[in-house]
Subunit: 523 residues, 2 copies
């Protein structure tokens, strides 16, 4: 297309959400003229399915659950008065708790106030808080965030040691719906031991965010933790950033949670629009469908031209891939769906892998995110620097985005561009809400359940089986050196020779069994 | 295959590098029996090409350059005595400079010593230092690292403001081979202005790492900066972590750069092995070839089960994608090569996107990285915690890796596993060297130049064109509101209407032009 045709196409398809200063540009995707019309019946089905979901249908049939994350920012939508009340009361409770911490109404035993927050959680209980903290954090935050998001001994200890003299003034959030997920449980046990070893009473630092009556809930209650916040079974982990999981750390950091919810609510309003061309989430889902042939044929590269959105792609990896990466469709057919997501930020990534995007294997489409204001708050005059006469660093950033968009288009690589006025708390809420809705629409377009994660359970079971083998094999260690095969036979499971090999190599490296050649014995 | 067959296959193909406590397991890739044999002639060609490269051939023909990153850890290899001397002298110079900073022989004007390092660079001048800093950093580091790696006004100011009271004791590294790359240049200009505004003399904090005689070199010389370190044209940006680019920040942080170089040198020794089955870089390249049909048909998912290697995949995105993502082969044919790389860490990612890897679209292979020792240095006894009787957090991590490897294999998803004794400075050097060599081998297998990046230049030119349009259009702004089309006509370039629209929207959001409807005027 000529420049004039592209400019016309840009204006024709531009989707605006005026209250949010938001636009979605799909002009650089190569969908043909009839595409939107051909998809319209399917899109209307997706709108209808979403209406039912929002009204409280069992939208997650495998787990027999409602899917209520949209209610979190508009409690009126929730299908029962008690849910509405729980949502409203909890938001107020989060605000009140954060205020009590900030005002020193709640203080640690060995310090004048809480200064830092250590969040222990994994998956949806980590990625949202990490995104929010990194995207919105500033030097003057009320509290500084730290994260344990794995069961890596070294990583856990590096984080704990990194707290240094702030340990005594650190508030610990343990986030786990069931309380049984090993990673946060192990992190909690390590943190408890560390606080104790340093002479601090863990329970006087600890807050539980968990399902009512879970193991963690019972543990927190019986140990007299500072506070317990609920996690509801109608909010999935990957959409929990607007529930207590995200709101508690956010409020503690000093971020206005109401503006976050309001940003999402405004985007929800725009993405309930039943006219496809006016609905940015519908258009986004349709672009994914077009780019990937509705089968994940291409990867989604997410390139925000803004440092604060560095973790957005990592957040979307979970939201998109865990929602859409499914073996079966809703009719039980094997479909192996999904869309792979990766990316960091522009223009930085232009100096990393955009070489391949421009010249190499043509297996992706790009989503640019552009923030028009160079800073969310105006710079002080003395900080507003020209790097060339009349040109700012931000002009270069804008130029690099435009240059890359054009360079990719010229090579037949498609892109969509999301433009926001500024990257602030309202915008972040809106962007998350946009993708939550787009994922829901897309799932209907390809007829899958976006709200379960059966493959995660399989991985957990496989890991538990490995630990069972470890227990059994370790019990058979003696002073006589034995091979992995010997130990596998000794436990009556010859098929376990290779897992036992890996287990013993791990134990030997940590000086918990003796190794000589390829044989192992008790210490 | 049965468990017994898999265990046999594991032992048959396991590739060990004993001096490094390193193994590569390719048993879970589904290459058939004859594959390695069928690739052997091509692999021998790759060995021969690598020998020539190491001997100083013009291995980057498009740019007429030698490719010398292997010499950096074994100066004897460099083809000229003056190069050998330059390499050795520079390593000593880096060590001496870091020592002088640590011993307070060099101090800032307004503080007793330098405590922090701000590194300004992008691409290869950022990703290596960021990986090293994150992978090896500990609380007791001699200096704390900070990075500016973009031309994002907000990101730059957040980093500068984040230095707080440490600004006066911050040493600034400006890293840019040409000195003309806009991102580090803009970062430098912003930092200079910020230091000045806070009453500090930038030159007394500043160190240049740049090509001899570059714009940056001249600027540093004429302004009396503390120090200038060389960047050589025979070291590409994405392989510069073992040149001054990586060594200077590393030494300042207090990390033993000699051990880093030694780790790489040991891996180089192992990957010069001409017997394919004993050469881990050759096997890795062959697995990439098998998995992707030598055409990038599948993505490379990198999953280290160790928090410290979180940024390894981001480092590899540049090393692999910028090296292999090429339009033309060495004969000028259009081939559109490359392999997409993404990943974060396990077991964390199991709670994010491993759902899709296991159940969803089958478009990837996985590289696991396992560290056998739970911590690089032994934990204090009081910190060694059992999370269940006889079970540590690290046992769970090992179990999750094994469980995921098995769960993926059971669904026909291939993986390779790299196992290292521990994640320390020597290992990190070795891992980087392994991938450098594998990338070089793979490039020969698919007949491309791994050492240039023509697409990056195209992006820069496109961006420069946008800034030219900005200058022209801004000069035509008057008190009379004009549309983007009006301005495009005014500058005699009607095709620039859309770029001008985006430029004006950006300027208007930053209150640098007046906007009314879709018309723009001067302030």
């Amino acid at each position: 297309m000529t420049a004039a045709e592209l400019w016309k196409r840009y204006k024709k398809h531009l989707c605006k959400v005026t209250p949010l200063g938001f636009t979605l540009d799909i002009s650089r995707m190569d969908f043909p003229d009839g595409f939107l019309k051909s998809m319209e019946p399917a899109m209307q089905d997706a709108f209808a399915a979403m209406d039912q979901l929002e009204a409280g249908a069992i939208a997650n049939p495998d787990e027999g659950r409602m899917v209520g994350h949209y209610w979190l920012r508009n409690a009126d939508l929730a299908p029962k008065p008690e849910l509405q009340k729980a949502i409203r009361d909890t938001v107020e409770d989060v605000k009140a708790f954060a205020t009590a911490i900030h005002k020193k109404d709640i203080i640690p035993p060995n310090a004048a106030k809480f200064t830092d927050v250590l969040s222990i959680g994994i998956g949806g209980s980590a990625l949202g808080p990490q995104l929010v903290s990194d995207a919105l954090g500033v030097k003057r935050d009320k509290m500084k965030m730290h994260f344990i998001d794995n069961t890596d001994t070294d990583g856990i200890h590096r984080t704990l040691e990194g707290l240094g003299s702030k340990l005594k003034s650190t508030l610990v959030l343990v986030i786990s719906k069931s309380g049984g997920t090993p990673e946060p449980r192990n992190g909690m046990i390590e943190a408890e031991a560390y606080f104790k070893a340093k002479g601090h009473v863990f329970s006087k630092h600890a807050v539980a965010i968990t399902g009512d009556g879970s193991k963690l809930d019972e543990h927190a209650k019986s140990n007299g933790w500072l506070k317990r916040f609920p996690m509801w079974d109608w909010v999935g982990g990957r959409t929990s950033v607007m529930a207590t999981v995200g709101l508690v750390p956010m409020a503690l950091q000093g971020i206005d949670i109401q503006k976050f919810l309001d940003g999402a609510a405004k985007m929800d309003g725009a993405t309930r629009e039943p006219t496809t061309k006016k609905n940015p989430a519908a258009l986004l889902a349709l672009m994914w469908h077009h780019a990937t042939n509705g089968k994940g044929d291409k990867d989604m590269v997410v390139l925000p031209y803004k440092d604060r959105l560095l973790l957005f792609s990592r957040y979307l990896q979970q939201l998109v891939m865990e929602s859409l990466g499914k073996e079966h469709d809703l009719n039980g057919n094997v479909v192996e769906q999904g869309i792979a997501v990766y990316g960091n930020k522009g223009s930085t990534d232009q100096h990393a892998y955009v070489q391949q995007l421009r010249d190499g294997v043509d297996n992706f489409f790009v989503t640019f995110v552009v923030g028009l204001q160079d800073t969310a708050r105006p710079l002080k005059p003395e900080d507003a620097v020209e790097v060339d006469p009349g040109v700012t660093a931000g002009d270069y950033l804008n130029g690099f985005w435009q240059g890359t968009r054009t360079a990719l288009y010229d090579k037949g690589r498609g892109s969509v561009t999301i433009t926001v006025k500024k990257v602030d708390v309202q915008t972040l809420g809106a962007l998350i809400a946009l993708y939550e809705r787009a994922v829901g629409f897309y799932a209907t377009l390809v007829n899958i359940n976006a709200y379960h994660q059966p493959g995660v359970e399989a991985g957990k079971k496989a890991a538990a089986a490995v630990l069972d083998v470890q227990h059994a094999a370790v019990s058979k260690l003696t002073d006589t050196p034995q091979t992995a095969d010997d130990l596998a036979n000794a436990i009556g499971n010859p098929d376990a020779a290779e897992p036992i090999h890996h287990i013993m190599e791990h134990l030997a490296a940590n000086k918990r069994v003796k190794k000589s050649g390829s044989k192992y014995s008790a210490l």
